[in-house]
Symmetry: D3
């Protein structure tokens, strides 16, 4: 019923992995196929297209639903309904940033230091022009087809570029002097489609599965046993994500407790639980979590 556009290129592998983990596996006859299917009653058609073009195609109604970055939504100015941010990117769970960068040796330390006529190369000319307009700077913005950092300092004076960790800019001898946009991956919908209750319900269910999968990547299930005496002190140090499931152990006074906790707290939580008297603590991986 829904037509879905997924991003080709640097986000492709991570997007397909997310859909597979969400039990929405994308089927293609080959890796180079642009048309795909998902065995799901809510999804009629899947197309894999450049993320630059997805905002416009969703806005124009070629697709009901699409995955793309906030960067391209802003650059194209396409009017779409954002359902949710999806916290994954090419390699990490962090957002990418579009930044203004100049050579290390430059005296420029912020956008305010840029002189009129500054030459700027970027793959995001609209976004960049809007940014300079807001700051009242008259810059010469040039479209870049890539290798943008290779053009300073002789061809252009500054660049506006996408970065995940900043390390390739650093390696190219550049420093970041301003952030134009922090860009997450987003699930976006066509406005008319989103207004239809049935389609909207289907879209929200898909968002639920994707978010539940992303959240599970950072969580684990912890199970433990504890005596009645220590029960409340153990429960007190459990993270407040959800109330723990507590049941009495058969034939005794001990309790079984289980709860979901962030992976990042496990390294301190498990020793703390042990200190509080918890025994038989086990940790299990989870694949999805929906509140």
């Amino acid at each position: 019923m829904l037509r879905l556009a997924l991003p080709k290129g640097s986000l492709e592998r991570a997007t397909l992995a997310l859909f597979e983990d969400a039990d929405l596996a994308v089927q293609r006859s080959s890796d180079r196929d642009y048309r795909a299917t998902i065995a799901d009653p809510r999804i009629a058609e899947v197309r894999i297209l450049r993320p630059q073009e997805i905002p416009r195609y969703v806005a124009d109604g070629h697709f009901d639903l699409g995955i793309t970055g906030r960067d391209w939504i802003e650059e194209t100015g396409a009017v779409v309904q954002s359902l949710t941010q999806l916290h994954y990117s090419k390699a990490t769970a962090r957002p990418v940033r579009i930044v203004l960068a100049v050579p290390d040796a430059s005296s420029v330390e912020s956008v305010a230091d840029l002189k009129p006529g500054t030459r700027v190369s970027t793959e995001f000319p609209s976004l960049t022009r809007r940014f300079f307009d807001q700051h009242g700077i008259d810059a010469d913005v040039q479209l870049s087809y890539g290798a943008t950092e290779a053009k300073v300092p002789d061809i252009v004076d500054a660049i506006v570029e996408l970065t995940e960790t900043g390390s390739s800019l650093r390696a190219a001898g550049m420093k970041i002097v301003g952030t134009i946009l922090v860009s997450h991956t987003e699930l976006v919908a066509n406005r008319e489609a989103y207004a239809e209750p049935e389609k909207r319900h289907a879209m929200e269910q898909i968002a639920t599965l994707l978010l539940g999968t992303l959240e599970a990547r950072g969580r684990v299930l912890v199970k433990l046993n504890v005596s009645e005496t220590n029960l409340s002190s153990v429960i007190q140090i459990l993270p407040a994500l959800k109330s723990p499931t507590v049941s009495k152990l058969f034939g005794g006074d001990d309790y079984a407790v289980e709860t979901v906790v962030p992976k990042s707290e496990i390294n301190t939580l498990i020793p703390a639980l042990k200190d509080q008297g918890a025994t038989d603590i086990i940790e299990l991986p989870i694949s999805k979590i929906v509140h």
Copy 2:
């Protein structure tokens, strides 16, 4: 106690992965070794042999138990006891098929259209001859050593060939005009060994482990919390695979429910559970399931 023959070649990797997942890991000093062991009191010896020869060797009593395809059991006519189908093949969980195929341009649309004297190349000559005899067609069946589809239309007129998805036949410009056999991987036993109660019990235990592992690949464990009000409506939409485990949450009126569901239904089930009032839904991977 049991001597076991496993298939070398295209099924080898998938078979060894299945045994490892079933906690029956096959130990070899090197990948090219034909002799192996499994650290299991029921299995005395493991040999890795061509699947074509396993039916005969099991029938002749060289091995008590073997894994091979239905195709080679039929082709060799070996008399063995089949314990169970095992739903895995080279790359997927689907069976392979032995089909009759002719060039796309041929006017033949079914086996009935074949003229007497039709030349047929195949790696399964017995099976093929039997099939043509049953259909009363006098064909010239030739043994193929492989590359069978390369021989039409000048060397032979039709081929009988194994296929998993049909795509390599299509790519070779051929159409399928009949299916001779749908062939699953099978666990087969020597008849005399199977008649001994102790050996039979051991064989069935091994079948249980293998089947439990294969089934778990398509299942996940779902855990959720639900209020007393919503309990029955949540339970009603759970798949009927097994009755869910329900327990009351300590210190409240809510219930914890857990059940095993097919992976393929998760994409619709989790949103439906949420719609029915389930909260704190989590999904966990499972490695084995035995009913």
Copy 3:
């Protein structure tokens, strides 16, 4: 707060994998980086160094905590506090051994057969000299820089060498005639740091996480349902690792049982459980276990 030294080289990959599984992921800008961090309040600094040098650097107080092998602790004679053995090595969970080996054709069958003046090549000269001293043998021990087995029989008469499975010694035509040391990986501490209660507590918590992760690799969680009649016979055959968690199923007389069992017993346990009347048996992977 703690400064930690991890081993570079053959143990490196397995050590980093262990720390990641223990939710103590080691962050480096590149694989060749010697300085790293762990996002954990107890760990101030991580350095990746040759395992040969870690005992001395921990003893000298350059680091509070280190991971190295018992072999290098003995060889260097460094005085460190061992917190625990960690049962993993390059490829397996087995310890490595430092052995005395001679050519297959040699008449030497044990260390007692060695003649005075026997030339021995080894990467562990101190350990080796001490061993020969204890056995009252006057050997000519030479430091080897590697490729030790290439030097027999013409350059030296015997070698003292590290081995995991013995297979590369066998392949080089050598036989093992004595074991000098069975060497596990160990977590070792600087004695002064270990004497400080706060540091000691942090060290023990880290040991708990590492041990819990290693133990979980050989364990699975088994869940099953069973009728009241069969409950005690099912519980009786469960391994005694920990007492199983038993709860009554809602609305019936059946019980849900769950327990942790060694992976190596699963192949016989699951069939046995089924024989005793257990139903709906499922097995789940676990990531950590702390008693």
Copy 4:
């Protein structure tokens, strides 16, 4: 002395290989470096940039010399001096083509069949608009960011796309109905730089080395002996690329002949030479040829 721009991306590997074979090896500290050097007195600086931008940068005088495709020279309309075509592309020695393609099922067979308002997606909008203007067709040309063939037939009706062999268009179910440009790789110069005699001489020397390397890839050196009687008939069948070098063998009446011949004629030439009485025929690879 010359500043040189080389193409990043699909032509990069083939371009660097050509320069290495031409003894103009490009040195970079890493594969991702945009700045490079060539140890040659004529070349002051090397930059590796997107081929789309090289025509403009050479025209603007940022570089004296560049390698790019005729396609981007035409698309950008940059005014540069072409020194020579270089007959190599990504994978073969053949030029690429920019073609007009429509779905196989379309009734369009040539550009003349396109209806007004036809939607066309392309990475070459200027070139495409110019082409439609020349043919008097009023098309809706849209910029494509890639995956162009994925957009027919629902998003656009036709595409203008680069192709080397046509096979990926065929695989996408499209047919070529017109060729807009046959595009070779070219060595282009800034017009002012080219007007300076010294720079022009240096540019022509570099062109000589590159052309000599490309030509040698399709040639081999053939050496043979022949008696006086057969000399003229052997020489007559040699290809007329250059006059063969003939010398008399010491102490006899035989002659040694050597000449350069196209690799593609060797399969018929060597047997023919043998038929004409040539003996001791040997073939040697050559690395460069300059007439």
Copy 5:
């Protein structure tokens, strides 16, 4: 004009490499294609088929020319015209051998030691039966589908197997007790086609190109300068493959000598030439040699 069959499988890569070096490059749209072409006026069609079937298909006139092994010519008993042996195999220039092998521990040392009823597994049943008939031994010869060495000693007593170096038999704990056939790769023709003068001439030209390429792989061109005094002693130690080409150097009394020598003699020849007074010795690779 000629239809050519090339071997699929273990000889495929080496055969295609040979044809490419012989300037008869085989063109396929993909590596899995059975139909191919060679841009050569003498070759109308190329098919890539199992080497087992090529002798029969050439004998039956489906192809004029084929490449296969002597082993399969003998096994099938097909009547074909052998044009030449081609000294290459899967990995080396050595022939393969079909040998009779028994377990290391067996008391059998030659075919004469085999008892009546000996069970023998082989992929070459006809060849094997003929061999035992010639030796008057009544063996039970069974067709093997592969993994032949895995069947001794319990399923069969001996095997007849193809070997290139004998190392995989040794690794399987077997010893060779007889050689049934030394098998080279051969270029074979259909007898009727070979009787036609024009086809035969074309076949011989192709044989010339293939043999010239194979021979060149073991040869290099050596060029040297030598004074008149040392000329005859230098020429005397040159290998007698062909008479060297000698020419007087312009403007002096020295001579330039060039000749083709086997690569395997270079390590002793070059030092010897230098000892005899040769100077400026250079060695060049050659790609083809035709006498």
Copy 6:
């Protein structure tokens, strides 16, 4: 007749490639074998050993001839006869250097700036102690087992380390403040063996083959035609490596000239030759050159 020791480890691949190019291919049953052979009457035995130990083993007479680095000859102080430097290393033709390096931030700029008691880590303790003794500096030199640069600045103050390009030291934030040794690969002989005329002759022949191969890597053969008028001016600009071979072309007044030139001069020589009137210039690769 000669026993030869080759270096295992970082120089291994480059050394084996050099011997293969020199027609002295080293045969091993496997890549991990320490014993090898060369099919050459002068070489009785080949052993592959750590380069650190080769100087001592050659000095002690275990081997007649060895390949190792000057660094280890100096470090071990072994007394061997050096036959020749061999200009190749792990990746390039450049020598490696043993350098003194300190952190970038250090105020030390040369060895003279080091304070007494400076802690220095190195894999070359003897060499390093001798160097400091010569400079009258009292340093605390510690043996490093590797990862030496990881120890500054907290564990040691400076390091003495091997470097090929300096880039990994730079990447580790260190600067080079002194060079202790420039170390080439060398061919070294046992002194007694070298004193025997027959062995010495064989050693020198092997050196000739290795040097001829290394030299050929940087050379090509250039052939050209030239008219009588231009002959002398063409010959004048040829590099003076060897006198060119000139011969008169049959039936005309032109000359054929051939000569060997350094690859590094080709980029300027070929254009210059063309400018002087040379025609039909071709360049051929050479495999060996012996003067």
